[in-house]
């Protein structure tokens, strides 16, 4: 059923909905409904490819865990489940704000959409901040991946100042972003470009949230280590040459052909899997943040109406998938007993 007001090619960079109700309809679709359904189908197909993408890593996890369960049970003590649980709740909240944003877009509520997208971005940034603390804490302890795995004694850790060097490096992009967006926000404000200033302001808040996450990542373990003394998150004994800390001899198995990958302990393989899974997940979060920032720019410019909100819906689907994957990663990596 064709609308009578078909207006040829849609205008580029829509300046609001003054062009007629069909300006957003691309020429190769007959109705807006068909365009929306096609977009949704396309996004679901992409999500299926993403699920299969991650399932490769899950397969690696499943194979190694089922063949060496004692290694996984032991290695999990290096992971802080309170931080992991907090990160889970942060991502769940970001899913809520994203779904709420889709609802705002459907109702044409531009302000609500703007703040929901910003909240989602802030949660994502918070998550990455906490992840940065987790990673750098492990790197301080020598818990790298594969061949580089070399756990250090707790005594050596507390004495040295190498503790925060990695965290500083990881914070540099966020610091640059914070500075850059703050300056941009001020400049745009001064020049009267209110919309651009608003976008820059929201992104400034996002960059700030990274440091809030870093703060939380440092504060929470300090609190929980006083409340829950039963489980320690650091190795208990100094490592001897040729052995890893705190592992009984039966678990120090070096698998494989001596000509091939000799010398890689199985705990190192656990960490390879851990870094691969959470690292790829973090890359997906970063990519999602980029797309969300793009959506934010479009939303502030008023490109989404109650008749045209497809992009918000589809990016929302991607974001929920990122959350879904973390929902599975969290128990598998952090809650092993």
């Amino acid at each position: 059923m064709h609308e009578s007001a078909i207006s040829g090619a849609p205008h580029a960079g829509g300046e609001g909905h003054s062009h007629g109700s069909e300006y957003h309809l691309a020429h190769h679709f007959e109705t807006p409904r068909q365009q929306f359904d096609a977009g949704k189908l396309g996004m679901w197909l992409f999500l299926v490819t993403e699920v299969l993408f991650f399932s490769g890593l899950f397969a690696a996890y499943a194979v190694y865990r089922s063949n060496h369960p004692e290694v996984f049970v032991d290695a999990h003590k290096y992971l802080d489940k309170v931080l992991g649980g907090f990160n889970t709740i942060v991502l769940l909240f970001s899913s809520l704000t994203m779904a709420w944003g889709v609802r705002c877009a459907q109702l044409g509520q531009k302000r609500g959409l703007t703040w929901c997208l910003t909240a989602t971005l802030i949660c994502a940034s918070l998550f990455l901040g906490i992840k940065a603390v987790e990673y750098t804490h492990k790197w301080d302890m020598g818990l790298y991946w594969g061949q580089a795995f070399a756990p250090v004694a707790e005594g050596a850790l507390h004495g040295g100042h190498g503790h925060t060097a990695w965290l500083v490096y990881l914070s540099i992009p966020a610091a640059l972003a914070l500075l850059g967006f703050a300056v941009r926000a001020v400049i745009n404000r001064v020049r009267g470009r209110q919309e651009a200033a608003l976008v820059a302001f929201c992104l400034t808040l996002t960059a700030l949230a990274f440091f809030v996450g870093v703060g939380l990542g440092k504060a929470v373990p300090a609190v929980t280590s006083k409340l829950l003394p039963a489980e320690s998150s650091v190795p208990e004994a100094a490592p001897q040459h040729g052995q890893a800390a705190a592992l009984p001899p039966t678990q120090q198995l070096v698998v494989g052909d001596p000509q091939a990958m000799s010398g890689i302990s199985l705990t190192a393989i656990f960490f390879s899997i851990y870094y691969a899974m959470t690292g790829v997940h973090a890359i997906h979060i970063l990519a999602g943040m980029g797309v969300l920032a793009w959506l934010l720019g479009r939303a502030v410019r008023g490109e989404f109406t109650d008749k045209y909100f497809g992009p918000v819906d589809f990016v929302g689907l991607y974001w929920h998938l990122v959350d879904l994957i973390w929902i599975y990663l969290f128990p598998l990596l952090y809650l092993i007993h």
Partner: protein, 105 residues
């Protein structure tokens, strides 16, 4: 395009998800032995279903989207299942080298 999620449903689902997260973490403090992972995965699957049905809107959408997603999961099950079967086939035949010496024949 038709169905708009009411705020109370969104918030309600979020609270249930948080509750399930707390349950998952709390369950690790109880010694359930080898069931541990299945309980965790079971709760995670419930959370995943809630996110998919409500946040991702599958419950109110064209059923084709749900069918496509379900098929993806079926292929994941095939992938993981067959891989696990294969790896367990030859575990008994592996020769483990002890540190400081050669193992096997």
């Amino acid at each position: 395009m038709a169905h708009v999620m009411p705020v109370r449903v969104l918030v309600g689902i979020f609270l249930i998800l948080v509750l399930l997260t707390i349950v998952t973490v709390a369950a690790t403090f109880f010694p359930t032995g080898s069931f541990e992972i299945w309980i965790s995965l079971g709760i995670a699957t419930v959370k995943a279903c809630l996110v998919a049905a409500y946040f991702m809107h599958l419950r109110y959408d064209n059923p084709m989207n749900a069918v496509i997603f379900a098929f993806g999961l079926i292929f994941v099950a095939l992938f993981l299942g067959l891989t696990m079967m294969d790896t367990h086939q030859y575990q008994g035949d592996l020769i483990i080298n002890q540190p400081g010496g050669m193992g096997g024949s």
